[in-house]
């Protein structure tokens, strides 16, 4: 019976993969290669590849002041978002680590930002940061036009994004803390370790596997932030918040330069991939399990 089976190829398993593979093929693999293809061309307004220019789109980008600014802005943005978002999540997770009255309310509150859309959050922050009626200026007694000042706009958008991402980070860290063996804390207390010492020598190392995973997810996510920038600053003022994703959007859908936008997409993909690979390299060497 076995030999009979082996003779003819069994097609049934592939049938179960058809639905997902079809979607991946049409909306992921095909557009991925098409983006690379487009990035080598000048296009017309309909996005049809017209003139082959080779790597010219890339060379133009890498020599343009505007794109280098985008890279710099994106880098600063990602660092603030990742560090801020993870820190908020970690603080909340540590605060909810031990049982106390109301823990369920608080853990829901800390996770809540993950359920909020970037666009909705952006509109709330817009009013909070409003120069005359906003709560931030009123509380601080300042008169700063947060979102129109090139010095502050990027930080505002980044902090908003960090807040949005903190919810899911809280869940990751809570799960990580739950996995740390309680008894090591008891032993440490007996040995006279202070709370701070315990945090740095027990909690953080215990979290390192999940910390690594969260870091990778956060970096990838931060690179993709779009809605809040579109709504709050539209890349301005003076290109101060023109992160790569926004620059792609503007090039493609306002300037109709699909070739250049495609080249930026490819560069974005390469950056994300390199960072991910480096992270996995470091993980193999460093993280203690």
């Amino acid at each position: 019976m076995n030999t009979e089976k082996k003779k003819k190829l069994n097609w049934t398993p592939y049938c179960y993969l058809i639905p997902c593979m079809l979607v991946f093929a049409v909306f992921l693999f095909y557009p991925f290669f098409k983006t690379i293809y487009l990035s080598l061309f000048l296009t017309d307004k309909m996005g049809q590849a017209k003139i082959f220019v080779g790597l010219e789109n890339y060379i133009d980008l890498l020599t343009s002041e505007s794109f280098r600014n985008s890279l710099k802005v994106t880098l600063i943005f990602v660092v603030i978002v990742v560090v801020g978002g993870m820190l908020l999540g970690l603080i909340a997770a540590v605060l909810c680590n031990k049982a106390f009255p109301g823990i369920r309310f608080f853990s829901t509150a800390y996770a809540l930002p993950m359920a909020i859309a970037s666009s909705s959050a952006a509109m709330i922050f817009q009013i909070m940061l409003h120069p005359t009626v906003g709560i931030v200026n009123k509380l601080l007694g300042l008169d700063i036009n947060w979102l129109n000042d090139p010095d502050t706009a990027l930080y505002c958008v980044a902090i908003l994004t960090a807040w949005l991402n903190s919810g899911i980070n809280f869940l990751y860290f809570s799960a990580g803390l739950g996995n740390i063996d309680e008894t090591i804390y008891e032993r440490a207390s007996v040995d006279g370790a202070s709370g701070v010492q315990q945090f740095f020598s027990l909690t953080l190392p215990g979290l390192s596997p999940i910390m690594f995973y969260t870091l990778v997810v956060n970096i990838i996510q931060a690179f993709q932030s779009f809605g809040q920038i579109k709504i709050l600053t539209e890349g301005g003022p003076d290109e101060a918040t023109n992160v790569i994703v926004y620059s792609i959007y503007r090039d493609a859908f306002f300037n109709y330069r699909f070739g250049s936008a495609a080249a930026q997409s490819v560069i974005l993909f390469i950056i994300v991939m390199i960072i991910t690979l480096i992270m996995f390299r470091i993980e193999k060497k460093g993280v203690s399990y």
Binding site: P13, A92, F105, G178, S265
Partner: protein, 305 residues
């Protein structure tokens, strides 16, 4: 300190039962107050941090109930003096909010159901069936997680534009009908079942589809619940793709529709925030209801990796 106490006691060598009990009681009380202080300070810290974290939401709710005249003062106005629901009524009458909400429900609901079906089918094949190229195909699926959506969004837009699909439901739904993460999550759960479960079902004459519907799905309710909550919320909150592919009010989703309120004059800030509060409610409600499911199904697995 307790040590020196003991020493003292020993040297006296005359300790009655009552004294010992009293000492025990005292120490217990001390430990109790210590614990109470610790719990109390934990609570205080939590209240402070949670207040800061929820401030944007609380502020939004407060503004949504504020008459628009009250907002424009220089004094600190945290809570509305004369709460009103006028802003909510305005939001519903000035933009087709109900249509937007309906569109979002159709989109997010279809995406959620579709993803669960395609992911369950694929995960079933990857965990119970043997076929050529299984390892490579699984690697290919996992590799899709590395491709950021923005790397494909332009080409996708051009594709659906050429197909004349812009501004329809399918264009909002079809590109998101599967996800590598969902396949991975379901596969993790399916792998925990012994192969003999599948084999014995087969021997009893159970077809593959029947096995999925009758056995796998009921056994993996928590994974499906987690997946449903996560997918629905993400689809509900989607911004860039709906922004690109919808052009008419009939097709716009809540996130796009509500951000259109943004461009109107500053007098209607309170109405805009009321609209924001309305569109946040569904995703937050689903999150609160499904939070337990989500954590159990998704994050306990994520840690073990």
């Amino acid at each position: 300190m307790s040590q020196s106490n003991d020493m003292a006691l020993k040297s006296q060598n005359t300790i009655s039962k009552e004294e010992l009990l009293a000492l025990k009681k005292e120490m217990n009380a001390k430990a109790f107050t210590k614990r109470r202080i610790r719990t109390g300070s934990r609570l205080v810290f939590n209240i402070i941090v949670a207040f800061i974290m929820l401030l944007p939401l609380l502020y939004a709710i407060s503004i949504a109930f504020m008459p628009s005249g009250e907002l424009f003062t220089t004094e600190l106005n945290l809570v509305p003096k004369n709460p009103t629901v006028q802003n909510f009524i305005d939001a519903f009458t000035n933009v087709p909010l109900i249509r937007f909400i309906l569109n979002s429900f159709i989109m997010a609901g279809s995406i959620t159901i579709g993803q669960i079906i395609t992911c369950a089918l694929a995960a079933f094949a990857f965990s119970f069936l043997e076929f050529k190229g299984k390892g490579i195909l699984f690697m290919v699926v996992m590799a899709t997680m590395m491709v950021p959506g923005e790397a494909t969004i332009i080409s996708n837009y051009l594709t659906v534009g050429n197909l004349g699909m812009l501004d329809t439901y399918p264009v909002l739904i079809v590109p998101y009908l599967t996800s590598a993460m969902g396949i991975f999550l379901f596969r993790q759960f399916y792998m925990s079942f012994p192969m003999s479960l599948y084999e014995s079902a087969k021997l009893d004459g159970c077809s593959n589809l029947k096995f999925i519907v009758r056995i796998l799905i009921p056994l993996t309710k928590s994974a499906i619940g987690a997946m449903a909550v996560y997918t629905f919320i993400n689809a509900w909150n989607m911004y860039m793709w709906p922004l690109l592919v919808t052009g008419s009010n009939d097709m716009r989703t809540v996130q796009i529709g509500i951000s259109m309120l943004n461009s109107v004059d500053s007098q209607s800030i309170t109405m805009m925030i009321a609209g924001v509060v309305i569109v946040i409610i569904p995703s937050i409600s689903i999150f609160i209801v499904g939070q337990k499911q989500l954590i159990r199904g998704m994050f306990s697995g994520a840690v073990k990796g």
